[in-house]
């Protein structure tokens, strides 16, 4: 049985896309294909217009940074600083460049001071940040993130969003169950269940309860609350998706 079939999509430079869907939908598989770790049984993958083949793989490898779901699988080296610099070292950069990128990545990921520590002694959230630093250090223009917020505590999720939010120049594809994080970070959502069920805005998705059901998705609490409030009060208008939008609508109603 194929995990994916008939998937055609393209992501433009600088776009941020959320990839959502139920367990077993093939989100992980799709990301692996996008990063050239798996090859599709049919079809092609193009990065920057160039088709990815065995020969071009070397060039395109460093254009895509992949954050794996389990940081234990990603963090390999005995010290944090060794692991973060793993990518740049493989890129065969000059020592000063390696040191610079490592330092900056460690700062950006919020783990300054952890350089000499052994990753396997760190907490899950800390390990996640080490993994992110390792990706950031490579400065890939494209980032693929596989369930980045899974198993993180609320502060951890907040930290992650804070790290990713400012990276405006990067193209991101985030596979996640967590629609509230997807709402915060991305503008476009693709619903995947072995094939593409929906590709568009969140607002549009909200108006398709059939797709939400089929993909076993649930809106985050705020829109769900507002949905029921709007039913009860007869208020019409675009469904607020974020806390700010909800507050605005509630304030307006209070004033009326």
């Amino acid at each position: 049985m194929q995990s994916l079939h008939d998937v055609t999509l393209s992501v433009s430079s600088g776009e941020r896309v959320a990839l959502v869907g139920p367990n077993g939908a093939g989100k992980s598989t799709l990301l692996h294909i996008m990063s050239s770790l798996y090859s599709p049984t049919s079809g092609t993958v193009r990065i920057d217009g160039e088709e990815v083949t065995k020969r071009t793989l070397e060039k395109t490898r460093f254009k895509v940074g992949f954050l794996f779901q389990d940081p234990d699988d990603q963090v390999f080296m005995p010290r944090v600083v060794d692991d973060v610099s793993f990518g740049p070292v493989n890129m065969k950069l000059a020592p000063e460049e390696i040191a610079l990128r490592t330092r900056e990545a460690i700062e950006a990921a919020g783990i300054a001071g952890y350089e000499d520590r052994a990753p396997h002694h760190l907490s899950f959230g800390e390990k996640k940040r080490v993994a992110i630093a390792g990706i950031l250090a490579m400065r890939s223009p494209i980032l693929l993130l596989d369930e980045p917020t899974a198993n993180l505590d609320p502060q951890g999720r907040r930290d992650l969003v804070n790290v990713l939010m400012p990276l405006r120049d990067k193209t991101m594809v985030i596979a996640t169950h967590d629609l509230s994080v997807a709402l915060e970070l991305t503008d476009r959502v693709i619903v995947l269940k072995r094939t593409v069920l929906y590709d568009g805005t969140f607002r549009g998705l909200v108006e398709r309860p059939d797709i939400l059901t089929e993909a076993r998705l649930e809106l985050p609490s705020v829109p769900r609350l507002m949905e029921r409030w709007m039913e009860r009060t007869g208020r019409t208008g675009p469904l607020p998706l974020t806390i700010d939008e909800a507050l605005t609508m509630l304030e307006e109603s209070r004033v009326r």
């Binding site: 692996h32 234990d72 699988d73 390999f76 005995p78 610099s85 052994a118 990706i135 490579m138």
Partner: protein, 246 residues
């Protein structure tokens, strides 16, 4: 935890703080191997005492906690005690003493190398000497996966404990045996999936199979002095063995 593999995570940390860490791993590798080879040929008291004193001194100066050093001796214990006893019976106490000195000195020399050099540096040094790439990749991954397996094993042990399994009773008790082999098998199966993930994660960061470390090898004059020390001791030992008067 004193389980040997856990110790090794520590060893990598401690090696950075040891006095001999800073010396070029390639030089250390050659020196230690050379000394061990020389030691293996020594059969008289004088040269063995010289070598033993030298290695023991280096170890004491290394600032590595002694408990890491004990490990190597403990592992070789059956192969020290039995031959030594046998030798005392068949050849007399002197040959037994000589063999003990030989074995222990060699172990100390190897420990000197291991406890002052992180594993990846050691592998990279070996690669520099054209140690086969296939084997060095294999060693790299095996090293990593040992820790993965320990993780998985701990998790399964906890899960078993939570359901009341205590593991008492010998290997021959059918229940214990079955549970232990099932656990072993399960650990393997789960580690299989993780192993592929780890491999993919490494490939995604541009891994080519070559051992990669931050550290650049650069032999300095201090390394020359370090090497010279070993050469001197070896030469003295050989001369003593050959009976050249001192």
């Amino acid at each position: 935890m004193t389980w040997p593999p856990m110790n090794h995570g520590e060893i990598d940390q401690y090696s950075v703080r040891s006095r001999w860490y800073g010396f070029d791993p390639r030089v250390k590798l050659v020196c230690v191997i050379g000394l061990v080879v020389v030691t293996a040929f020594m059969r008289d008291l004088a040269p063995l005492v010289v070598i033993f004193a030298f290695v023991a001194a280096l170890l004491l100066l290394s600032r590595v906690p002694l408990r890491h050093l004990g490990g190597g001796i403990v592992l070789a214990l059956p192969f020290i005690i039995f031959p030594v006893l046998a030798m005392v019976i068949t050849s007399g106490p002197m040959p037994a003493l000589l063999m003990t000195l030989r074995i222990v000195s060699s172990i100390f020399a190897l420990m000197l190398l291991i406890t002052t050099t992180p594993m990846f540096d050691l592998l990279k040094a070996m690669r520099w000497f054209h140690f086969p790439a296939l084997m060095s990749s294999l060693l790299l991954f095996t090293y990593r996966f040992i820790f993965v397996l320990i993780d998985e094993m701990e998790r399964m042990k906890m899960a078993r404990k939570a359901r009341g399994f205590t593991g008492r009773g010998s290997l021959l008790s059918r229940d214990v045996f079955k549970t232990l082999s099932y656990t072993a098998g399960m650990v393997f199966v789960r580690s299989n999936a993780r192993a592929m993930n780890i491999y993919n994660a490494l490939m995604a960061r541009g891994f080519t199979g070559e051992v990669v470390t931050l550290r650049r090898f650069k032999a300095r004059p201090a390394d020359g002095a370090f090497g010279a020390m070993f050469v001197c001791v070896s030469v003295i030992a050989i001369m003593l063995q050959m009976g050249v008067a001192f």
